[in-house]
Amino acid sequence: MSVLLELSDLSITRGGRILLSGLGCTIKAGEVVVVLGPNGAGKSSLLLALTGLIPASGGIELQGRPLAAYGRDELSQSIAWQGELPPTEFGLTVRQRLELAAGEAGSEIETSAAAMDVAPLLQRPLGELSSGERQRTELAALMLRDAPIWLLDEPTAHLDLKHQIHCMHMIKEQRAKGRAIVTVLHDLQQAMAIADHLILIDGKSGAEYGEAKQLFTGNRLSHLFDAPVIRQGSVFVPNYGEKR
């Protein structure tokens, strides 16, 4: 599998605070890397840095070239980013939102809308939708992007159970098609279901990268989140009965 992204000694500083430092990893086509860590640790910032939206020190190479050598338009051909929900003040409809993402793939709007169950909402303004419906719209917009790398910031946020499962299936399908996916998640079960590799960011400037099966241990997760995590059968879950 070809290497799409290569990070070496990556550090991100925001507002004078070092969020993470010394991160190195390679991300290949057809793999899913899940980013885990507590609130404010720098998970979203990592995705923004990989998209070139915020500065970072160290090396980020995209398909063998430094990220900084890419123009904005060229970068958007290689990387698709799903993040915060877009504002709704200007009355864009779901169809218009998807058209903006689609570019040349305008004919596939119906297909991606159907895949994310937003086809009946196409004519509705984004401002009239629930957060979950808006999130599904963002995922449908993502599906219209032809970029080989997807960076997803909590793709299952706001989604009901059915659509969380939809989203997980979609990620697996895209991995099978050869896309490299880096995604921030908070749900450990979801992370276990799809992760090939993990990036753990502890919020104290530490960052760790490795194979999911090696990094998924109760102790490591408990330490990462500063909260009790226990194994139940084959999955890790928060221990709601115990308080630190």
Partner: protein, 308 residues
């Protein structure tokens, strides 16, 4: 159908604007040479000025709203009206009878205001808006000072200009119409990027837009258009705020429709307002800015309620 209705409305309003005034004149059959002169040398150029200025203000309003990510933004939000007014009144102080010097002062004042705002452009939309609001307060203070010092014979002229005055425009109509066309074409060239900016700065960048460069271009374009409109007709409120919203309600949010519709709709509103301003207390005239508010605001509120 909506475009056809909009264009029909423009035709009807232009005809109405030709017909009404101190005296009713049938535009298709003017009675004598005097009526012909009134129609084609007085009313027609003024209607074209109103159309171009209204269109420019609406375009600037649409751009400022996207630029600042704020649907309440309008062409004067960053203080350009205040600095232009201060410039215009400065011109009147030197030569109270000179419309020409007032226009030069307004244009210079508008650009001083724009340059002042440009210093804050790198701070991002929210801080730029805040800087613009503070600068607007500063220009208001300067304007109040200048008005206090202005000789009495210049006061009426100054107030009339500050509420919008199409009767003394010194800019050639060809310049205004050319500016209308150029501004619209520039807007259409940028329209896809503007659409993406509606999704927020990060989404726009992730979709390939160089947001910093776009913001600079947009600020310059919107400011230049505002400076031209202010110089031609004084400060006319509500067109730049109301028309882009109205056009979004009627034609959707994408700029390939919003911009031409605003350029036409803004012109239409100002033609209507100016026709009313010349007629309701004829032979005297009302400042057109009063009428843009009286016509524009209820229409906007009606459509807003109807849409809900």
């Amino acid at each position: 159908m909506r475009w056809f209705a909009l264009l029909c409305a423009v035709g009807i309003c232009l005809l109405l604007g030709l017909a009404v005034g101190e005296h009713w004149i049938n535009p298709f059959a003017p009675g004598d040479a005097l009526e012909q002169t009134i129609l084609w040398e007085l009313r027609f150029p003024r209607l074209l000025t109103a159309f171009a200025v209204g269109g420019l203000l609406a375009l600037a309003g649409a751009w400022f709203q996207v630029l600042l990510g704020n649907p309440l933004a309008e062409p004067y939000v960053l203080g350009v009206a205040g600095s232009a007014s201060a410039g215009a009144v400065s011109g009147l102080m030197f030569m109270p009878e000179s419309a020409w010097l007032m226009s030069v002062g307004a244009f210079a004042g508008a650009w001083i205001g724009i340059v002042a705002v440009m210093f804050f452009a790198h701070l991002g939309p929210n801080r730029m808006l805040l800087a613009g609001v503070v600068l607007a307060a500063f220009w208001s203070a300067v304007l109040a000072l200048l008005l206090a010092l202005l000789p009495e014979q210049g006061l009426f002229r100054a107030f009339s200009w500050m509420m919008g005055d199409l009767s003394h425009s010194d800019l050639p109509i060809s310049v205004l119409l050319l500016a209308w066309v150029v501004a619209l074409v520039c807007g259409l060239i940028l329209s896809r990027s503007l659409d993406k900016l509606l999704l927020g700065e990060r989404h726009a960048e992730a979709l390939g837009v160089d947001v910093k460069r776009l913001r600079k271009r947009l600020l310059l374009l919107a400011s230049a258009v505002t400076a031209l409109a202010v110089t031609a007709a004084g400060t006319i409120g509500f067109v730049g705020l109301v028309i882009p919203h109205l056009m979004r309600l009627l034609f959707g949010s994408l700029h390939k429709a919003v911009l031409p519709a605003s350029a036409i709709g803004g012109g239409l509103l100002l033609v209507l307002a100016d026709s009313a301003a010349r007629t309701v207390i004829a032979p005297a005239e009302l400042p057109v800015g009063i009428l843009t508010a009286i016509i524009g605001v209820p229409v906007f509120l009606f459509l807003l309620i109807r849409r809900n």
